[in-house]
Amino acid sequence: MDAIALDRVRPRRAAPRWRDDPQALARALLAPAILYIGLLVGFPFLLALYYSVSDATVGARVFHFVGLENFRSAIENPTFWQALRNSIVFTVVSQALVVVLGKAAAMALYRPFRGRALVRFLILLPWVAPISLGAIGWLWIFDPVYSILDWVARALHLIGPDAWPIWLGQPHLAMASVILVNVWRLAPLATVIILAGMSAIPQDIHDAAAIDGAGFWRHLIRINLPLLMPVMLVALLFGVVFTFTDMIVIFVLTRGGPYDTTQVLASLAFFTGVQGGDLAGGAAIALFLFPVLAAVAIGALTLARRAEVV
């Protein structure tokens, strides 16, 4: 090759500027969010870890390292075990109900009909209402004296005129009540997520199944559910996160009572750490939540991706 030609086509290998380099750009665009998350989630999280191995209390200025003492005392506390059991019951039962209800409602809402927008608006209300106020609404519904549920049940002669069920004051009834409120709060979100997933399934598949002679149940079990699996897992994941970490419903309705029968880990951590002033003990209890959630989240996301067929 001659020198002249080489000179003419001299490479213009200018270093690409960051605005065009995907990697540099990715770093620049991600940095603020990651910095923020690092400072305001990562750092406090580490602080929480530190508290959990110290003797921190609300008033104290100086903490001492106490090793796993807080975890030990948490584990030795029967209330902790009761709260863990309650957390699991509360989460599993309400999520099972949420998913079944959500799926059924989504199927009923799938085909357009007059007034669907209104129905959707009404269904969404529980999800957007501030839950602290929504829960107080339920407190009024469950009121020992003025409960509308009692009144309706008496009017329908389901219970006698002198029966006064104390919805939030009897152990099993209290758990059922907080589960009911939690389902009320989370079913709308599950419904719309599942509805979106259903709309994403091509109509051809439904038609093919109908031509192949699949009836309602067969269609549901062989076609609908497998195709919806990823979306339903996502709905489930969010439901579990909201349920497991949230304490507002229980804080407002029962404060964990009666006799800690509705106490869950999140509320126990709050009562111990903030209201009881035992920061270290509260942090130790709260930390039990995280590994469980992380495992559930990773599991659900992996399954959702694996189950993805369309």
Partner: protein, 378 residues
């Protein structure tokens, strides 16, 4: 007359197309030029390679596109044709090799600094902008403002009958209208080269023929050098000044549609181009290729023409209106390889299943390929 196992005499007489662009010697229009210093080359790929996760998508492709030329990159899916186009556009970074535009290396330049235009398979019209703003977009990005901007958009739209559509959004356009908007948006900035990535594949068959014609007419009018990617050989033959055939990342042949069809450089090109594809017959030491329409009755050849007898046992006949296709096997003394015969309806002779037809082909229509490499044998 060629006996089985004997080389067809025509094969040695003609210069062969070597499937490397540097040596795509018989340049049809602008004389012989080596790509290394091709003064007419508008766009050049030099030993361009791209690997994705250890899979080589494009392997050392060298190719020169001449000024004003319409070059088609043709290949099956996975052949690397789109990757090659995207490397020229600057949307992919090559693993090695260089892209040259107007003689300057642009390999490390961002797409916007190359002055290339591209029409995508989906047209990629900006859904949030009107047709006017879509066409104005590349001009605005280059700092054209005010009256100058408006004039250029309006001129370009007027030239291609888009004025009535200027205030619409892309979703309100038909498929053909979208293509026109995409093309006008591409050329309004007067690019060095127009890159087209299967722009017709989203149209239905009927619209596609019209759109193809419109596209070719469009390119002739604006005179912009164009590189067009497709997997459809009919499109390639109809549109291309030259066709570059790719397979599994490698360039197999570059040439005019006529060269590609009549003188395939290897068995891949021979069997990829043409429908039905070229018949390949095993002979001693070579593969012998013959196009289905070249197998004819004796009466179609002059007495003095050098021809070879290729008897065919017909298995099945398809009547396609303008053509008849016969599927069968070659008969003794040839190996019983499957062959397809294609006769236009102008040939009256009968073609019946089960019969043995004494067919012939011109010796010049018999192409020899190396059975090991698949390349044309000299």
């Amino acid at each position: 007359m060629i006996a089985p196992g004997q080389a067809p005499p025509g094969a040695a007489e003609r210069p062969r197309i070597v499937p490397r662009a540097e040596a795509s010697a018989p340049a049809p229009r602008r004389g012989d030029a080596r790509a290394d210093a091709d003064p007419a080359a508008k766009i050049e790929a030099r030993a361009l390679s791209k690997g994705f996760a250890e899979v080589s998508a494009v392997a050392a492709v060298s190719l020169a596109v001449r000024n004003g030329e319409f070059l088609v990159l043709l290949g099956p899916s996975g052949s690397g044709k789109s990757t090659l186009l995207r490397m020229i556009a600057g949307l992919e970074t090559p693993s090695s090799g260089d892209v040259l535009i107007d003689g300057a290396v642009v390999t490390d330049l961002a797409p916007r600094s190359r002055n290339v235009a591209m029409v995508f398979q989906s047209y990629a019209l900006y859904p949030h902008l009107t047709v006017f703003e879509n066409i104005a977009f590349p001009l605005r990005a280059r700092g054209v403002r005010g009256r100058a901007l408006e004039r250029r958009v309006l001129d370009a739209s007027a030239a291609f009958g888009l004025e009535p559509l200027l205030r619409r959004k892309p979703r309100q356009l038909s498929g053909g209208e979208r293509q026109r908007v995409a093309l006008v948006r591409a050329i309004v900035r007067e690019p060095t080269v127009l890159l087209l990535d299967e722009p017709l594949s989203n149209l239905d068959a009927q619209l596609r023929a019209t759109a193809r014609e419109e596209l070719r007419e469009f390119q002739r009018r604006v005179g912009t050098t164009a590189i067009y990617v497709t997997h459809d050989q009919v499109e390639a033959m109809a549109l291309g000044d030259r066709i570059a055939v790719l397979d599994r990342g490698a360039l197999r042949q570059v040439g005019s549609p006529h060269e590609i069809y009549e003188d395939p450089a290897d068995t891949f090109v021979a069997t990829f181009i043409g429908s039905p594809p070229m018949n390949l017959v095993r002979t001693a030491g070579a593969l012998l290729g013959v196009r289905p329409e070249h197998l004819l009755p004796r009466t179609h050849f002059a007495a003095a023409e050098p021809i070879t007898a290729l008897p065919v046992r017909v298995g099945r006949v398809e009547y396609l209106g303008a053509d008849r296709l016969a599927y069968g096997t070659l008969d003794d003394p040839w190996p019983h390889d499957p062959v397809v015969v294609r006769w236009p309806s102008t040939i009256a002779a009968a073609l019946r299943a089960g019969e043995r037809q004494q067919l012939f082909a011109r010796d010049t229509d018999l192409k020899r390929f190396d059975p090991g490499t698949g390349r044309r044998a000299q």
